[in-house]
C-alpha cells in the first residue's frame, strides 16, 4: 500500500495476487453448507423414508395399480409433450434466427413467458379457455371433444409450461452456426426444406436433444398447472406428482417417498445427461 512500485516476484506468485489462505475455506464452507443443508439433506431424507421398510415394500408401493397407472400417464403425456415441443420449438428457433418478420422481437421475448407465470395460473387460464363453460370449451364440448379433465388438457398444460426449453436450447446454436454451408446448398439449387433437412438439422440435433431431455424432466414433475386441469381421476387422469400429493395427504409417507424416488432418479439422470452432453459439445468446440 505504501509504495506503488512492486517487487517483480510479487506479481508472478499467484498466492500473493490472490489473498487466499483461510479465506477460501470460509467461502467453501458456506457453499458446502448451503447446498448440503438445502439439497443433500432433504434428498437423503426421502431416500431413507422410501427404503425404510425394505425393498419389498418399495416395490409394492410403485407397482400398486393406481401408482402404476399414474406413472404410465405421466410418462405418456410427458413423451407426447416432448415430441410436439421438439418439432414446434425447433421451428420457432429456426424462424427466430433465420427469418425476418414484423413482431419478431415481441415473439422472442414472449417465449420466456412460461418461466415467469406461476404454473397454477397457467392451469386456471386453461380452465377458463377450455373448461365446460370456457371460451373455446363450449365448442369443443358440443363436438364431443374432451380437453379439460382429460389427457389433452394435461398435454396442453405441459406444452405451455415447457415451451421455452427447446427454443432456448436450439436458438444459440443456430445463431453461432456460420451460414457458409447453407449458402452453398442454396447456391447449388437446394430448396429451403432440403437445406434444413440435410444441413441445418444434423448440426442442431444435439441441441434439440438437450432441450427435449429438459422438457421431459420438467414435464414428469409438473404439478401446479395439471392439478386444476386434469380433474385427477385415479387410473384415468391422475398423474404421478398429483398421486404423490394424495399419498402425502393420506399420511402414506413411505408410498409417497417410493414414487418420489422413482420420479426423482429419472429426472435427475436426464439432467445429468444434459450436463454431460453440453460438456461434450463444449469440448468438441474447443478442439475446433
Amino acid at each position: 500500500m505504501t509504495s506503488p512500485t512492486l517487487e517483480p516476484h510479487e506479481v508472478e506468485d499467484p498466492s500473493l495476487t490472490f489473498p487466499r489462505p483461510w479465506g477460501n475455506w470460509g467461502l467453501r464452507t458456506v457453499a458446502g453448507l448451503y447446498l448440503g443443508a438445502m439439497i443433500l439433506l432433504p434428498v437423503a431424507a426421502i431416500l431413507h423414508s422410501g427404503f425404510e421398510q425394505g425393498l419389498r415394500h418399495f416395490w409394492q408401493s410403485i407397482t400398486q395399480p393406481i401408482a402404476g397407472r399414474a406413472l404410465y400417464l405421466t410418462l405418456l403425456t410427458a413423451g407426447v409433450t416432448t415430441l410436439i415441443n421438439a418439432i414446434m420449438g425447433t421451428m420457432a428457433a429456426y424462424v427466430l434466427v433465420r427469418h425476418k418478420f414484423p413482431g419478431q422481437r415481441i415473439l422472442n421475448a414472449f417465449i420466456d413467458m412460461p418461466f415467469a407465470i406461476p404454473t397454477l395460473v397457467t392451469g386456471v387460464m386453461l380452465v377458463i379457455l377450455y373448461g365446460p363453460q370456457g371460451l373455446f370449451g363450449e365448442w369443443f364440448t358440443l363436438h364431443g371433444i374432451e380437453i379439460v379433465f382429460a389427457k389433452p388438457g394435461i398435454i396442453l398444460a405441459l406444452l405451455l409450461v415447457t415451451y421455452p426449453f427447446t427454443v432456448r436450447s436450439v436458438q444459440p446454436v443456430l445463431l453461432a452456426m456460420s451460414l457458409d454451408q447453407e449458402e452453398a446448398a442454396y447456391t447449388l439449387g437446394a430448396s429451403r426444406w432440403t437445406t434444413f433437412w440435410r444441413i441445418v438439422l444434423p448440426s442442431i440435433f444435439p441441441a434439440i436433444l438437450t432441450g427435449s431431455l429438459l422438457t421431459f424432466a420438467r414435464a414428469i414433475g409438473e404439478f401446479g398447472s395439471i392439478v386444476v386441469v386434469s380433474g385427477n381421476i385415479p387410473g384415468r387422469t391422475l398423474t404421478a406428482p398429483v398421486h404423490i400429493f394424495g399419498l402425502i395427504e393420506s399420511e402414506d409417507r413411505t408410498g409417497a417417498s417410493a414414487i418420489s424416488i422413482l420420479l426423482l432418479s429419472l429426472s435427475f439422470t436426464l439432467v445429468l445427461l444434459v450436463d454431460w452432453l453440453q460438456k461434450r459439445r463444449e469440448a468438441a468446440r474447443g478442439r475446433i
Partner: protein, 278 residues
C-alpha cells in the same frame, strides 16, 4: 452463378416475410401462450372491475398477497447472497468434491415441487429426522412460515448460481487481480470490481428467483397446511377459491399474479440484453 451479388438473398431471410413456418410458429404461439393471457383478463374482468376489486380487497386476499411478497423477497435475498458465494466458489476455486457440488445445484430443477414439500415434512414433520428442532427453536417449521420459506428457497435455488456462473467465468480475473495488486482487500475487490461487472447477471438470476418464488405452489401446498388468513399464499388462495367455486376471486388473483409476472418478464429481458451487450 459466378457472381455472388445475390448472396444475402440466397439465405432466403428476407425474401418471404410471412412464409409458412413463420405463420405456423405465430399461430402456435398465439394459441398456446397468447390465448390464455386473453382468457385470464376476460375471466377476471368480464363481471366488472368492481367485482374483481372487491374480491381482492378481502382480508384473506390481502394477507395472501402480503405473504407471497414476504416469501418472494426473503427467498430471493437468501438465494442471492448464498448463491453468489456458491457461484464464486464453483468458478474461481478448485477443490476436491467441486463437481459434486456443481451437480447438486441442478437438483431442484429435477425435483417435482410436491416432492420438495414432502422432503421438508420428512425432515421437520412428526417422526422426522429433526422433529425436535422446532421445539428447541421455539417455533414451528412445517405448517408454518419457516417451512414455507424453506420450500420456496429450495425450488428457486439454482437460478442465481446458474446465471451468475457464466458471467463470472466470462469476466475473468484480470480486474480482480489488478485490484489486489493495487492493495485492495478481498472485500473491496469484490464490492468495487466484481459486483459491478456481474450486476446484470445477478439481476437476471434474482428476477428469475423472484418469479419462481412468487408462483410456487406445489411445495408450499404440501408444507403449509393452507390455513386461510394464516399460511395461505396467493397461489394457495387461487387454489382454494377454485375449490370453493369462488371464481371471481380466483380469476382476479390469477390476473394479479400474471401482471406481476409480466413486469418481471420485462426485467428478465432487460437484464438478458444487458448481459449480451458485455
Amino acid at each position: 452463378m459466378a457472381e455472388f451479388e445475390t448472396e444475402p438473398r440466397l439465405t432466403g431471410s428476407e425474401s418471404r416475410r410471412f412464409s409458412l413456418p413463420v405463420v405456423l410458429v405465430l399461430l402456435y404461439t398465439a394459441l398456446l401462450l397468447l390465448a390464455p393471457i386473453v382468457a385470464i383478463s376476460w375471466g377476471a374482468l368480464s363481471s366488472g372491475l368492481g367485482v374483481a376489486y372487491n374480491a381482492l380487497s378481502s382480508a384473506d386476499a390481502l394477507h395472501a398477497l402480503k405473504l407471497t411478497l414476504i416469501l418472494g423477497v426473503s427467498a430471493s435475498v437468501f438465494n442471492a447472497i448464498l448463491g453468489l458465494c456458491t457461484a464464486w466458489v464453483l468458478v474461481r476455486d478448485k477443490f476436491w468434491g467441486q463437481s459434486l457440488l456443481n451437480g447438486l445445484v441442478d437438483l431442484p430443477f429435477a425435483i417435482s415441487p410436491v416432492i420438495a414439500g414432502l422432503m421438508l415434512i420428512l425432515l421437520f414433520g412428526r417422526g422426522g429426522w429433526f422433529e425436535a428442532l422446532p421445539d428447541a427453536l421455539g417455533m414451528p417449521i412445517v405448517f408454518a412460515l419457516p417451512g414455507m420459506f424453506l420450500a420456496t428457497a429450495f425450488v428457486s435455488l439454482p437460478f442465481v448460481v446458474r446465471e451468475v456462473m457464466p458471467v463470472l467465468r466470462h469476466l475473468g480475473t484480470e480486474g480482480e487481480e489488478a485490484a489486489y495488486t493495487l492493495g485492495a482487500s478481498r472485500w473491496q475487490a469484490f464490492w468495487h470490481v466484481t459486483l459491478p461487472a456481474i450486476r446484470w447477471g445477478l439481476l437476471y438470476g434474482v428476477s428469475l428467483t423472484f418469479a419462481r418464488a412468487l408462483g410456487e405452489f406445489g411445495a408450499v401446498l404440501v408444507v403449509s397446511g393452507g390455513v386461510s388468513g394464516m399460511t395461505e399464499t396467493a397461489t394457495l388462495f387461487i387454489f382454494r377459491s377454485m375449490d370453493d367455486r369462488n371464481y371471481p376471486a380466483a380469476y382476479a388473483m390469477a390476473l394479479v399474479l400474471a401482471l406481476i409476472s409480466f413486469g418481471l418478464l420485462m426485467l428478465i429481458e432487460l437484464s438478458k440484453s444487458k448481459i449480451r451487450e458485455r
